[in-house]
Every structure is written in C-alpha cells, then in structure tokens.
Amino acid sequence: MLEPISVSLESLNLITLSPMLIAIGGALLILIIDLFKSDLDKTLYVILTMLILFVDFGATYSLAINERGFFDLMLIDGIAVVSQLIILIASLLFVPLALTASNKRFHEYSYPEYFALFLFMVAGFQFMVATDNLILMFVGLETASLSLYTLIAMHNTRGAHEAAIKYFTMGALAAGFFLMGSAVIYATTGSVELYEVAKILQSQMDKTGFMISALGGVVLMLVAVGFKVSLFPFHMWTPDVYEGSSAPMAGYMSIVPKLAMVVVAMRIFGVYINLDIQAVSYIIIIIAVITMTLANMMALVQNDVKRMLAYSSISHAGFVMAALALGTTKGNSSIFLYYGFFLITNLGAFAMLWISRHKKKSHHERYDHPFSKFAGMVSKSPMAAVIMAVFMLSLAGVPPFSLFWGKLYLISSVVDYGVATDEMKYIVLAIVMVLNSAIAAYYYLKLIVYMFLLSPSEDETVVYANQSRPLNVIIGILAVTTILSILYVQPLMEFVTYLVSSSGY
C-alpha cells in the first residue's frame, strides 16, 4: 500500500501559477458564455479578452521574483516576468485589432472560440517561459502551438489553410526534435530540470564521451529552436505562413512565439554557454550570421511587402540569436529590449498592411500586398504613408525611432564582449551585423520609395477602406511610441536589466 503523500498548500506556491490560470480561466469563461448564449457579438469577446489580459498583466507584474512553485516546476525569475509582460503587451495590442475587421472579410473573429484559443495560446507561452523544466516547456510549447495553428486556419482562406498545415507540419517536426533533445539530455544527465542538468554537466566537464552526447542534445534542441524562431536552414516555412495568415496575425507571430522560444533557448543554451562550452556559442553565432545575411538577400528580391516583412523578421531573429550566443547580462537584456522595440514597430508595420486592399483580387495576381499597391500612397493618404515610413525607418534602424535603440544596445553588447574578451571575431560579428542593417535598409527604403517617390498606380481596384477607429487608435499608439521612444528608453532599460540580472542571466 502506498504511503499517502502530504503536500502543504503553501509549499506549492500557487501564486506562481496565477497568470496562466487567469488566462485559462478566462478562456473557459468565454467558452461557457458561448454555451449559454450563442448569438453574442464579437465586441463582447474582444473586450472580455482584453480585460482578462489586463488582469493577467497585473498578476504577472506583481509576481515576486526568483520564486519556485508547484513542485519546483514553475520558475518565476526575471526573464520569465519580462518575457511574459512583453507577450501580454503584444497580445493586448493585437486583440483590439479584431474590432476593426468586417465580419465578412475576417469572419474568424466572429467565433468565440477564436478568443478562447487565443487565451489558451497566451497561457501556453506563459508556461513556456516560466519554467526550467524541459517537460513543462514542451507542454507549454505544444499548447501554444496547437492553438496557434488553429487560429491561423480559422482565417479560412485557401492561403490560410495552406499556412496552417505548413506551420503544423513544421511545428510537429520541431516538437519531435525538442522531445528528442530533451530525451538525450535526460539520458545523459538523468534530469529534465535545467539547473540539475547544469550541475551534472559541470561535474562531468572532463569526460569527452559524456560531453559529446550532451552536445548531441543541444544540436537537437537547436533544430527545434531553429524551426520555431525561424533560423537558417529551418526558416523556409516563415514567408509562406506569414503570407497566408491575416496581416496582424503575421505580425503577432513574428514576435510572441519567437520571443517565447528565444527564452527557452536562453535557458537551455545558457547552461552550456555559462559553462564556457565554446562550441555551442560558435554554432549559434554561425547560424545567426547565415540567418541574417541570407534572409536579407531573400528580402531584397521580394515583390510582396508581406513576404518582405517576413524575411526581414527572420533577419531580425538572426540578430537576436547573435546576442544570445554571448551569454552576458547585457546581451540577454538587449534581447528583451530589442523585442520590446521590435514589437511596437513590427506589429505596426504588419497592421498597416491591413488598411489598404484590393477591392477585388484579380486571380492572375500572385500577391496580396505587392509593392505596386503602395505606389504614390503619400498623395492618397499622406498620414498613413508617413506612419508606414516611420515603421520602415525604425526597422532599418534609423534614429531616433524605436528599433534604433534596440539595435544600438544589442550591437553594443556584442562589441563589449569583443573588447572584454579581446576577441577580434566578435568585432567582426558586429561589423557583419551593421552591414546587414545597411543591406536591410535597401528593402525598407524600397517601400518608402514606392510610397513617396513614385506616382500612384492607375489601378482603380485599389481602395483604402479598412481604416476603422480601433485600427487607427492602435496604429496611432504604435506610431507615437515608435517616434517618442527616446523618452522611455531609460526606464525600460533599467527595468529589463534589473530583471535579467536578478535572475542571473
């Protein structure tokens, strides 16, 4: 007969679970409401979702740092908090965009399930970043990913189905690799808790055979991370999936799932980088350099703005991975700062794609958002063109717009590391990064050239119809925060650095 196990409620520290529970409870609430009364308008659900996210935000913000809970599965450290906050802000900016769309064109928002799934997804991402247990990471990853596949598919166009299935296939593969990697790590070290893994690795550093198999686990993990963060050579799905999803969804996907996976990568690879296993950081840097360069080259030749933005976000992911390979506090803080600024700009840029559309899509045209659609936009809707240009300049890293500060801090962390370790190759890495920024400037400029310098196309089917108040408000907020970023760089930097350094990264 088994001994009864007594667990005191205090030792579970359930407060660490509160943010995710709020999101899950909210999702269930939405489903229950739908069960009782099914003809409710989407505005109810949008506002409800926003309120739940607000409460979630508050719960996350008030979490005590460096706490463990729920049988030590949950780890609430600084990066868990800061990444959850970024995820929630991105979600809060994304959800109200649903208010804007007409029910006919974007009918996915008329289903309450959409919002329930959305909240499940948010909870999944929150689980992913708030643990150092490989199994819980996987559970969070799968919860989030499965919801996300469905959200994409609910857009219900042929492109969306294709995108969802493509993403699902790739995601399943990535999940497989993640599991394999976890299995190898478990097989070699006997633990799925990363802090245990770190201890065991440290004690076994001199055993070559052991380290080789441990590194094998890292390589499998890297494949999984590569798929999710869209690093070369696992980035192929990105442009197609983004193209198939609705524009704001694509913007959301370029930030939140990637950030969650970057945090996972930071935790897993951080173990190895902190133990000074150079091979890991070299692999990551090489992949990062190839990713940013190749994606830039591909972005140069795109004819579609959405695909261009997809490639550009791959290239930005490469940037972030380069900082991740350093394993310094500044490098890790710069990643969150970068994502914070990138969120504002990229979500804005994708949302802007929404405001213009063809009345009727002619079927010989391959693309939804060809560059030619934006020709002479400045004469038709000058404000929209100016805002789009601001987002493009910000993405290119032109000061004083937001992403410049992210880029500055990120490149600074690379340069610092190079000077501190007296390794010329990190300076070279920084040079490669800035040259990539210069290449990237070309395709961002291309859109500006179309909008400002070319005359409008004669095409009468182009209409600028989707400008509703919620969209304008959200884009206004994003544009203002992009332009005035200099005013809040300091508090943001202080906050992020404090959280990251307090959790020992």
């Binding site: 000061p399 500055l408 600074s412 340069v415 210069a438 400037a441 310098l453 300091q490």
Partner: protein, 508 residues
C-alpha cells in the same frame, strides 16, 4: 540665453511640425520667415559668443539614458559656430531662391527638418546624439532628391542614403568600442565626446578606431574612392538640394574629422597622414580632371566640389593650427561658393531646361548681372586672392607645407586645375558670340535670385578682404585643439608633427 542652442535646434522642428497647418499658397513665406528667424538666432549666437574663449560655450546637458551614458549634450566652440551660421544662412538662401511649385509645402517642411538635423550635428557633443542627427539628416535629403530630382532621382537618392548609412554604421561600432573602453577605464558609461577626449588609447586600438571613424566620415566628405554617390546626387537633386548638400551636408564629414578623429586619435591621425593625404591628392587631381571632361555645367561644379573637399582634408591633416584653421575656413567658403554656383546653375536651368555647356555661349551679353555674379563666384572657387576662397585654401596649403612640401606642391595644382576647368566653363558659356538662338531672349536675374545671390557675393568679398572676425574665434579654438592633441599624443612621431603654433595672425 543659456539655452540658445536648444532653441536653434528645436525651433525649426516645431516650425516644421506646425507648418503642416499652413496653407500651401502661403508656405513659401512661412518658410522664409522661419529660416530668417533661425538665421537671426544664429547671428545672435555669434553676438553672445565669447570670441576670446577657446572652449565650449552655451553648454547644456540633460541625461537621457543615464544607465547607458547617453545625454542631450550640446555646446558650441569657434570651430562649429560659423558652420552653424553658414548652415542657417544657406537654408535661408535655398528657400528664398526656391522656384519649385510641385508639392512646395512638403519641400519647405522637409527643408526645415533637414535644418534641425544639420544644426543638431554641429552642436552635439554626445556621440549618440551626434549620430542621431547625422543619420536623421539622410531622411529629408532622400526625400528632397527622390521627390523633386531629375530623371534618375530614385537611383541617386537611394545610393546617397545607402552609402552614408553603411559608412556611419561602421562608425557606430567605433563609437560603441570607445564607449566600452571608457566604461572599463572609468566604470561609468558615457558617450560625451569631452569625456572621450580624456581617454588615452594604445596605438594598436587607436588605429582600428581611426579607420572605423574614417569610413563614416570619408563617405560623407566624400573622399576618393567613396565619392561616386556625389555626382549622382548632385546631378539629380533639385537646386535647393544641391545647395544644401554641397554647402552643409558634406561639411559634416570634414567637421567629424576635426571633432572626433583628431582629438580622439592624435597618434593614429599622425601615423596615417600619408595614406589620407594621398587619397586627398587623388581626390584633388583626379576629380579636377574629371570636372574638366564634363559637358554638364552642374557636374563640373559637383566634381570641383569634391576636388576642393580634398584641400579641406589636406588642411585638416596638416596637424597644425594653420592647416586646421584654414580647412575650417575653407569649409565655410566652399559652402558659400559652391552653394552660390549651384544656385546660378539652377537659375540658368530654369530658363533653358538644360545644363549642357554646348547649349550656351555669349551669355555675358544677354545676362550681364548673371555673368558678373557667376564670374565672382567662379574666381572665389578657384581661389583668387581677395575672395573668400583664397584665405582657406592658402592657409590649408601653408599648414600642410610643414608636413610635406612635395605633396603640398601637388595639392597646389588644385588652384591651377581649378582655374583650367572653371575658366573653360566660363569661356564656353559666357564669352564669344551668342550662337544659340534660344539664348538671345534670356531674362537676366530677377529680384528673387538677386536677393539670394547678392548677400553671398557680399560675404565672398567681405571675408576675402577681411577674414579676421571669423578667423580669430576659429583660430582660438583650433589652437586649443592642437595643444590638446600635442599634450595627448604619446608616440614621438605624433608629438613632433603636431605643432603648437604661436602665430597665424600675419595672414589677414
């Protein structure tokens, strides 16, 4: 008026933003009014400026990102003072002479934003703020060239943007490097240039940093072999774009050398005098020859502009007070003279819609005022004594003579070659019989153009005869700079080369 510099920087910004509310038929007057106020403010700055003080004045410092050492840190000294005045003057002149009707509101507002960036670059003493204005200046210029330019305007605009953007990103790495070194030495982050001045770096580090900054500045100047964007930009830009580009934007590069490279890396600067001087010489001689081969009047002036920038570089790298003072004075004179020449080419282009020299001939009899002003500006460009061009060119060359007489002789050919292509241009355009019927009824300069050009002529002659009011403050600051560099340099070669001069006053 402690914060006059902030007013100077942000007044055009506010005016530009409010400009959106002004009706497009009244925007020209609005632009002229704002630019005049800005110009008067900059003159007032000169009035308030203590010419006997060689250091930084009107210092303002507001921490922006204290954790990372970035602050809004502005000040002005003798070196930047006159470049600021020239920038406001040339913007004013550019707006007065404007004769574009298409989208004029956007153009005026863009010019005001550009003015913010230009003034910002010359007053910033914080590297990141400097970089911010430096990069931001690209955006309005991209729009000016791209929207109001000639046939291949988009190619020219994008080329201009990408070239400078790439170069300045390399410079940014240099800045981050210095900032980290400063951090590891002092324990605090700082991007203040005055803090960086105090940093004595080993030569091994200095040399890399020197080249990192060099790439950023050299592309802007533009030095050979990075100069290829400039003829395109000038060729395609509208008149006002060319005026501002030649007069002010190019000076950012040479100013950067004086403000950053020399005081921060005195040893590396001395060590690389020869490579830099040879590049500058190639610039001077090669582009002068290219200028001679041009058919297009504007291209001649564009290439001559590159050629004269070479003399400025030579003067800067003379590493003594004469040379540096001369190069700064030459920046001013080059700004005024080339700005005026671009205006003149612009006005003939407006009349005939061509800039080819072969289309003209005998204009002196049809447009006497035009020919006169053109002649004066041309002589100033060549460097005739008693014009503004002579003072700076002479001082630069005198300064460099102490470094290398041979190279100075070669650099001196700029005057001869300049005379060759400029006089050829003048001969083909203005002398001889009026061969082309289209030229017989050309209007002489009208009131608007005269308003823009006559003040420039007055300045050219005034400062050519009596440069002292401008030279003395520059000279004071430059002497402080050279003695600082002399102090800071630690390699024997640099100590020997950087001369702390006692006399330059004999040139008056």
């Amino acid at each position: 008026m402690e914060n006059i510099l902030s007013i100077l920087v942000f007044f055009p910004l506010v005016a530009g933003l409010l400009g959106f509310l002004v009706d497009k038929n009244s925007i020209r007057v609005y632009g002229i009014a704002v630019a005049s106020i800005e110009f008067i403010l900059s003159l007032w700055l000169w009035m308030l400026f203590d010419t006997s003080n060689a250091g930084f004045q009107f210092v303002e410092m507001i921490p922006l990102v204290p954790d990372f050492g970035i602050s809004y840190y502005v000040a002005v000294d003798g070196i930047s003072l006159f470049i600021i005045i020239m920038a406001t003057l040339m913007t004013l002149i550019g707006i007065i002479a404007l004769n574009i009707e298409k989208n004029i509101k956007n153009l005026i507002i863009t010019l005001l934003f550009l003015e913010v960036a230009m003034i910002g670059v010359f007053v910033s003493l914080d590297a990141i703020i400097f970089y911010l204005f430096w990069e931001f200046s690209l955006v309005p210029m991209l729009y000016i060239i791209g929207a109001w330019g000639g046939e291949r305007r988009i190619y020219a605009a994008v080329k201009f943007f990408l070239y400078t953007f790439a170069g300045s990103l390399i410079m940014l790495i240099g800045m981050l490097y210095v900032a980290y070194v400063y951090h590891s030495v002092s324990g605090a982050w700082s991007f203040a240039i005055t803090d960086w001045y105090a940093l004595v770096l080993p030569f091994e580090v200095e040399k890399y940093l020197f080249w990192a900054f060099f790439i950023g500045f050299a592309i802007k100047v533009p030095m050979f072999p990075f100069h290829t964007w400039l003829p395109y930009a000038h060729g395609q830009a509208p008149t006002v774009g060319s005026v501002i580009l030649a007069a002010v934007l190019l000076k950012m590069g040479t100013y950067g050398f004086v403000r950053f490279s020399l005081p921060m890396f005195p040893d590396a600067s001395v060590a690389y005098i020869m490579p830099v001087a040879i590049l500058a010489l190639i610039m001077i001689i090669y582009t002068a020859m290219v200028a001679y081969a041009q058919e297009d009047m504007k291209q001649v002036i564009a290439y001559s502009s590159v050629s004269h920038m070479g003399v400025i570089i030579i003067g800067t790298f003379a590493m003594n007070a004469e040379g540096i003072t001369g190069s700064i004075f030459l920046m001013l004179s080059h700004g005024i003279v080339s700005g005026a020449l671009f205006l003149l080419v612009g006005s003939i282009y407006d009349r005939r819609h061509t800039k080819l020299m072969s289309e003209f001939g005998g204009l002196a009899s049809v447009m006497p005022k035009y020919a006169l002003i053109y002649g004066i500006m041309l002589m100033a460009s060549v460097g005739l004594p008693l014009t503004i061009g002579f003072v700076g060119e002479y001082l630069s060359l005198v300064g460099f003579f102490k470094v290398s007489p041979t190279l100075t002789v070669l650099a001196g050919t700029s005057i001869i070659l300049g005379a060759v292509y400029m006089l050829t241009l003048y001969k083909r355009t203005f002398f001889g019989p009026v061969t082309n019927d289209a030229n017989k009824k050309l209007m002489d300069l009208d009131g608007k153009e005269l308003t823009a050009l006559v003040p420039l002529v007055a300045i050219v002659i005034w400062l050519g005869i009596y440069p002292k009011p401008v030279l003395v403050p520059i000279d004071n600051s430059v002497k402080a700079l050279t003695s600082f560099m002399h102090e800071k340099a630690h390699t024997p070669k640099a100590k020997a080369t950087i001369l702390v001069s006692k006399t330059t006053r004999e040139v008056k």
